[in-house]
Symmetry: C2
């Protein structure tokens, strides 16, 4: 493709609203433009990359035996009501009515659509296992779209849904997808870390996210190289260090006047002791009903774990009025010691603490010398604390370390949530109607593209992996006369006939300008035909990744390009 007939509007300046590198480079290299907040236009160069990623995803899904469907993007509210998610999906789901007053969601995910459709498609155990996927546009009403296409309101997803007769079948389907995902990201030139993940509003059991380690990632990963434990923070198990077990003598419990001392910091100053001694007691509303959650004072409550432990659909911090009502005291004096009339859930680590300090559910008052088990019963406990750097690995006890990551893929075992609620059945071998068990599997196509850019760049621009580069060869012609232009045109024709995808910079601009654009756009092999060719037949080759410059004669050009592309 000749640039003079193509559209590669590179920019020298970073777009003012771009805070992450991939966003800056994708706009500057002429791959995309912003349309409005969280909405992007793909230009031809960018779309070529998206299409190459899509082709890899499609190939690997087909190889894994999955079948491609295409669902409506406007998904009928009726379906969401059957599964119960019309009420539980939050404000991130766009909803719309047509002029006949029918309601739809602009599909953020398609469990309901696929499960609903399958009712008229599959009928027998012979139809299973079935893995159905689509590559389609998804919508998410992000309150704060950011990082370019990493968090946008409209994006392309590959989403797949497996239907199996039993757990064993689901295991197999899940493992096939796990393998396919590894292959997909590897083929896209992306290093990913699969981590254990929470299943969130999807329901289900096993769940893994494919994370691209990146400073701009919004996910926190807890990793252990000793045993290979990998989880995101929503899911990572928290274990109190063994050393934390306190065998001190139990002190007497005592009421202490603590006028105006409300926060953990205030308390640490007042009592002059380690924050872990304070029992942090927070009142939440779980599906609208108050509940108290208690963790050591030096730790944060993990709301994902808490929500799962309570089996709640919605969880939010209780407003002050509720806290005052529950504790019969101003906010800041809650605690599990005095009888209160709401359920209390303790972190698993609470029971090993000794001589703690906690609010007394009374204005300006705390208890000291509080001992769990003695001073209050632990009737309900669960892991509700967020694990952090240096916490012991739940696999081997070694200290874990932390990385940030961009989520590019997610696989989970859904179980029967949708097939039961939506009454999808097939006849088993005995002729009985049974619900299939489901898994679901997603890849963000645009986000994968951005993650590749985050991982593959230098100060001059993008360095595309060959597999998804918009072109393979960037031909720079430096011709001063018409006969020289004709020679470069001839080489262009020769490269095209040799089967390469070539972007040919045939513009009448300076060599420096062309080289800067070539580096910015990041096509794997740059071929320069200029003075040394016209004088001595030398063609310059440069690999965008390795950065090495070399010269070849024309008879070796095709071979050498192939070597560079395959290296």
């Amino acid at each position: 493709m000749r640039i003079s007939r193509f559209i590669v509007p590179t920019l020298k300046e970073d777009p003012s609203d771009a805070v992450v590198l991939s966003h800056r480079l994708m706009v500057r290299a002429g791959l995309m433009r912003k349309e409005s907040s969280g909405m992007y236009v793909y230009l031809p160069l960018g779309l070529r990359v998206l299409q190459k990623i899509t082709a890899i995803v499609r190939e690997e899904m087909n190889r894994a035996g999955a079948h491609e469907f295409l669902m409506p993007e406007l998904t009928s509210a009726e379906l969401w009501k059957e599964s119960g998610r019309w009420d539980t999906m939050g404000p991130e789901m766009f909803r719309i009515k047509d002029r006949n007053n029918q309601e739809y969601a602009l599909g953020p995910t398609h469990e309901e659509a696929f499960t609903g459709a399958m009712r008229s498609i599959i009928s027998s155990y012979r139809d299973l296992p079935l893995n159905a996927y689509q590559i389609n546009t998804k919508f998410r009403d992000e309150i704060r779209p950011r990082f370019g296409v990493i968090r946008s309101k409209e994006f392309i997803m590959k989403d797949a849904y497996s239907f199996d007769m039993d757990d064993k079948g689901l295991d197999e389907s899940y493992q096939k997808m796990r393998t396919a995902y590894r292959r997909i990201f590897e083929r896209c030139g992306l290093n990913t870390i699969p981590v254990e993940a929470d299943t969130g509003s999807m329901g289900g059991s096993d769940s893994e996210e494919f994370m691209v380690p990146s400073e701009v990632g919004e996910e926190v990963l807890l990793l252990c190289d000793s045993c290979g434990y990998r989880a995101n923070q929503e899911k990572a198990e928290y274990r109190r260090k063994e050393s934390a077990i306190d065998n001190a003598e139990m002190e007497e419990i005592a009421e202490v006047d603590t006028p105006g001392v409300k926060t953990i910091d205030d308390l640490a100053g007042f009592f002059k002791c380690d924050p872990e001694k304070f029992l942090k007691s927070i009142i939440y509303l779980a599906d609208g009903k108050p509940v108290m959650a208690v963790v050591p004072g030096d730790r944060e409550i993990n709301e994902h774990k808490l929500k799962n432990a309570l089996g709640a659909n919605e969880l939010e911090l209780a407003p002050d009025t509720v806290v005052e009502d529950v504790t019969a005291a101003p906010v800041g004096f809650a605690g599990p010691v005095s009888d209160i009339d709401v359920p209390v859930i303790h972190d698993l680590s609470v029971k090993i603490l000794r001589n703690c300090i906690t609010g007394a559910n009374k204005n300006d008052t705390h208890y000291s010398g509080v001992n769990p088990g003695r001073d209050f019963k632990i009737e309900r406990e669960a892991d509700i604390t967020s694990a952090v750097e240096n916490d012991p690995c739940p696999g081997c006890g070694s200290p874990m370390y932390v990385k940030k990551g961009i989520e590019v893929g997610h696989i989970f075992k859904l179980g029967y949530k949708y097939t039961k609620s939506m009454n999808l059945t097939v006849l088993d071998e005995n002729g009985s109607a049974v619900n299939p068990i489901m898994g679901c599997y997603g890849i963000g196509i645009n986000r994968t593209m951005a993650a590749v850019v985050e991982q593959n760049n230098d100060e001059r621009g993008i360095i595309w992996p060959v597999s998804i580069a918009p072109f393979q060869v960037h031909l720079v012609g430096i011709a001063r006369q018409d006969d020289q232009s004709a020679e470069v045109d001839r080489i262009y024709g020769y490269l095209c006939e040799s089967g390469f995808d070539v972007l040919y910079d045939d513009r009448k601009v300076s060599p420096g300008f062309k080289f800067a654009d070539a580096d910015l756009v990041g096509i794997p092999v740059r071929v320069t035909v200029g003075k040394s060719f016209f004088n001595g037949g030398d063609i310059e080759l440069k690999s965008r990744g390795a950065g090495d410059m070399e010269t070849v004669k024309e008879d070796m050009l095709v071979n050498r390009i192939n070597e560079l592309l395959n290296s």
Copy 2:
């Protein structure tokens, strides 16, 4: 692909809500299922056809030098406000707000999106000509979705927008697209008729629609084989037959009591004369202001022409209260004779009428002997009548005939409407900022698929053109023992290795069931390996189109299939 591992849920019964053949066959052959009114799920077999059509469209667009983009489907209201269409697009445009209260349209078309995006992409005459296209989902809030995917709420469109420096450039871009469209539909095996069309809300001058002649088409086409005139009814010029010129003596105008005689039929009975003698006078609201339109009593007003003639954005029949107000009489007695205080627009044919009858703008009263020109002035006239069968061709005067058609493509010259209102400029050779001139070009992908089915079928099912068939070869295995199954499997492998796309019916069902499914699904070549093969080495071949059955030995199989596919 083995059917046992694929998803081809054919149905014996027609879906109850399907009134047209393509809809019935596409559901019965397992290509698609309904999700909700006007929304369809594509199954793998149907999606393969859609993807083949898409590939042909993409190939021909690229061949014509167009460049592929991808726009957001949620298009920002800001852009629609710039062009002025936020207010003029009717209720067929879905509108939605995000939670930050930003408004969007679910793009029914993308003139604004492309024009807006180009402001940061093109800057110089050197960037033109440019033809930018996308293949993307479009939305339309159809009040009455029908005919399966022919009129649905969500569909895939290829839409292209050309930008040129001048009329001459636009002509060239337009002709390139015209050629590309002819090639696309020809390659899809579709007979289309390009007809002159109205430019409607798009603005612009030349416009052609590509129509597939079909009894279920919703468009009425006026055709003349003598000179090749082809137009849709919205656009087709109406000329009164020469013979209609009435040279009768002018009678005196007279007021006639016509108690309760209001409709043209009532009048014909009362006055016992031809309906063409009545001046049909209808009050409309054009952009909210009343206007009277007058046509001969035997003809219908063409609201598209009327709207264009008035330069109105919106046109609707005036409510009774407005009619009563304008005519100072009940509905049914309007006419152009008495002075009324609103503009009157006459059809071009009104002036040749003699001795007409018309309402007197007075209760229960008409005038007879009315002569245009004498009894009322014609200050404004235009072609505002719908042409019908046997009307004289505007090209050559021969009588035109009528066909119904399905619109599958539309090309138009848009002019400067969007580049001016949205201030898209480029610098010309003198360094002055000028607005490019635009054209736009659409193809409905799903509708093309349905139109192919409407045109290619018999009583047993679909007959796919080879170019877009979901598979090329339908292999039917009729094996009674395992060793026979193994032989059919071997032939399957051989066909796949020979480069054919094969759907292999390896199910354990009766031959009759398999043959019926093969006919229904409509793959071009059916290959049957059964008794005659196991006994004497004869493989049966049947072309789904020609219907002839023949036998070949295995050594000639591949050659003969290729011949059938290429015939």
